[in-house]
């Protein structure tokens, strides 16, 4: 054992943490310095954490300018107010592919071809369906304002982007439960409770097709039916992920941080993924994952949450899946169902992996693997599947998605 010298003891007892020019660094001082440095690094790390919390809006999900349309859509009594309701409609990958012309006598609805997804939705199936959803919200908004509700689909055959005209014919203001639900309707991608949907509820949802020609819903409620559709959805999800074009295009619309959301006000976000608060916070604080890691997470969520907790699936069917008019009408029914579900406190999530793979295989001239399987599950040869969704009683409320303001989509 080494006995310390008097000088060493003196140095050990020195109370100068950093000392003057002549001071020697004692063991205690060194330890103090080390502790100080370590704690300082911890504080600096907390600073980085705090900045991520600040920068990504961890403490206030779904807030800011990009979300203002969700709270301002009732305020304007003019047709522009109804457009404010239209832009809150469900739409594919939150691309918001719409443009509106508001005239003294009508509101014209146009597709915005620059906001398509050529790999995910090559034949505009979802694009047209989403436009139908917007038309439905527009009609509900105009009705509630007593401004009219006469819809003409595809009024200009020479212009395929001109999808609908709604005439401002006037009339009595007619609000409705569906209209009231517009501001609360969000895709709920979280888990649903293990609670079956009563057949009376499904019947009331079927009734939403009233006045819409040629569209219907096929429900999958039994365990066997749901299991078969679940297997097909999972297979389609795996095929989607394996398709580089679809995977990359899907990711290109994902808005991973607050700056992107504020700048673009579109696309899917972490907030809208139905994650638990803790997982969501971690997702926002940690650096963005790679495409492949994100794809794996999506597949896992599809397997363990989306399909595992679906109380029922619905598939909107039409006679001709290539008909833009029928797709638009199918979109109107989809929007009505989503609003009706919302007004009952239930959740709905769009799950279109199967039809996305059907269209992709067709686009690439690949053998049709998913089309015959889904057709077989539908068991109605005269009907074609348009879009698929799941419904149920959600564990937690869905958060809002960003929206471009009315001023950005009207001309």
């Amino acid at each position: 054992m080494v006995t310390p010298t008097a000088d060493q003891v003196a140095a050990e007892n020195s109370s100068l943490p950093l000392g003057g020019p002549a001071a020697t660094l004692s063991r205690r001082s060194a330890l103090q310095l080390l502790g100080l440095g370590g704690v300082t690094v911890l504080v600096a790390g907390t600073g980085v954490l705090s900045y991520r919390v600040f920068d990504n809006g961890v403490l206030d999900s779904g807030s800011g300018r990009a979300y203002d349309p969700w709270s301002s859509w009732r305020q304007d009594a003019t047709p522009l107010g109804a457009v404010g309701a239209a832009i809150l409609a469900a739409n594919p990958h939150n691309t918001q592919p719409w443009l509106f012309h508001v005239n003294p006598t009508s509101v014209e609805v146009f597709a915005d071809p620059t906001r398509g997804m050529p790999a995910v939705d090559p034949f505009d199936r979802e694009h047209n369906t989403g436009m139908g959803c917007a038309v439905e919200n527009l009609v509900l908004g105009l009705n509630a304002r007593g401004l009219g509700n006469t819809v003409t689909l595809l009024p200009e055959p020479a212009d395929p982007t001109h999808l609908a005209t709604v005439l401002l014919t006037g009339g009595a203001a007619a609000g409705s439960g569906l209209y009231e639900a517009i501001g609360d309707r969000h895709s709920n991608r979280g888990p649903y409770r293990p609670q079956a949907v009563p057949s009376s509820v499904l019947d009331s949802l079927d009734a939403q097709a009233a006045g819409l020609d040629g569209v219907a819903v096929r429900w999958f409620t039994s365990e066997a039916d749901k299991g078969a559709l679940t297997a097909l959805i999972l297979a389609a999800t795996e095929a989607f992920i394996a398709d580089l074009g679809q995977s990359v295009e899907s990711l290109s619309w994902f808005r991973n941080n607050r700056d992107d959301i504020d700048q673009h006000a579109d696309g899917p976000t972490l907030d809208a993924q139905g994650l638990s608060p803790l997982t969501l916070a971690l997702g926002k604080i940690l650096p963005a994952t790679s495409r492949t890691a994100g794809d794996k997470f999506w597949l896992e969520q599809t397997r363990t949450v989306h399909t595992a907790t679906a109380a029922a699936y619905g598939v909107i069917t039409i006679a001709d899946a290539d008909s833009p008019a029928q797709r638009l009408t199918g979109g109107r029914l989809l929007q009505r169902i989503h609003l009706a579900i919302t007004s009952r406190g239930m959740g709905l999530q769009h799950m279109n992996q199967i039809t996305e793979r059907i269209d992709r295989e067709r686009q690439q001239g690949l053998p049709a693997t998913f089309a015959p399987q889904l057709q077989s599950l539908l068991a109605t040869p005269s009907r074609s599947p348009l879009v698929t969704f799941r419904i149920g009683y959600p564990v937690r409320a869905a958060l809002r998605s960003p929206r471009r303001p009315v001023s950005a989509v009207t001309r």
Binding site: L16, P17, L18, G19, G20, P21, L36, V39, T40, L42, V43, T46, G47, L49, S50, Y51, R52, V53, F54, D55, G57, V58, L59, D60, S63, G64, R65, A66, R258, D259, I261, D262, Q263, P277, L278, A281, L282, I285
Partner: protein, 242 residues
């Protein structure tokens, strides 16, 4: 006026201009921020961030004013922190509007740091470091609070952040303890799922306990001036030599 006094004077003037411009930047952010996103940094909540910018700029102004008179090393370094911390933090609240005020405050802060004997400064920094860390954590809490919602959470976070910023500089240990608790626990409980606020609370409490010890008499005691006068030649002396 010797070189250290001159540096302190520069720190005061530059800090005052930077702080005043910072207040203006905050006002612009709060009132026009949403209309000039390229300048204001595309902020989601420009009003709240503008108000925070004003608050932090006001702290800078007070720090700059404090540097106008003779101060102890502790107070000088506290004033330097009052210029440097807002100067750095507000780059994330003011966007391009903060570039000029931030640069000025940072410059002023550096001048305040070097306006004294380096060895003495190091000693004081070492003694005050724990206090400074708690205050810095309070600044981080303020940053998170202004991005929070709803209003109740913002209020709790802002109050907590301010409590943490000021707690180490108060003389009574009981008040410091109360402020530490107010500054950490409520906000962390309200936002437990955010990960960051509980981490900050644990760290601030752990470090804050070290600030509860009795203060050394010279931390805020004697001024630096006698030392300065005795060791640092004045400009007049320099010019006489030249």
């Amino acid at each position: 006026m010797n070189r250290w006094q001159q540096n302190q004077h520069i720190a005061s003037v530059v800090g005052l201009i930077g702080g005043a411009l910072g207040v203006v930047a905050g006002l612009i952010q709060a009132t026009l921020g949403s209309h000039i996103p390229h300048w204001s940094g595309h902020k989601a909540a420009p009003v709240a961030l503008g108000l925070l910018t004003i608050l932090l700029s006001a702290i800078s102004v007070l720090s700059a004013v404090a540097l106008r008179s003779e101060v102890t090393p502790g107070r000088r370094l506290a004033a330097a922190a009052g210029l440097l911390v807002p100067g750095s933090l507000c780059f994330s609240t003011g966007g391009a509007l903060w570039y000029l005020p931030g640069l000025l405050l940072f410059t002023g802060g550096v001048y305040a740091v070097i306006a004294g004997d380096a060895a003495r400064t190091r000693q004081v920094v070492a003694r005050m470091w724990w206090h400074l860390l708690v205050s810095v954590l309070g600044g981080f809490e303020l940053l998170m609070a202004v991005s929070a919602g709803p209003t109740m959470t913002i209020a709790v976070g802002v109050l907590g952040g301010v409590a943490l910023v000021v707690a180490p500089s108060l003389p009574a240990w009981r008040i410091r303890l109360v402020l530490l608790l107010i500054g950490t626990v409520p906000f962390a409980i309200l936002t437990w799922w955010s990960v960051a606020t509980p981490v900050l609370a644990v760290l601030a409490l752990a470090i804050g306990l070290s600030t509860l010890r009795p203060r050394a008499p010279d931390e805020f005691g004697a001024t630096e001036t006698p030392v300065l006068m005795a060791t640092e030649p004045s400009r007049g002396a320099d010019s006489t030599r030249s």
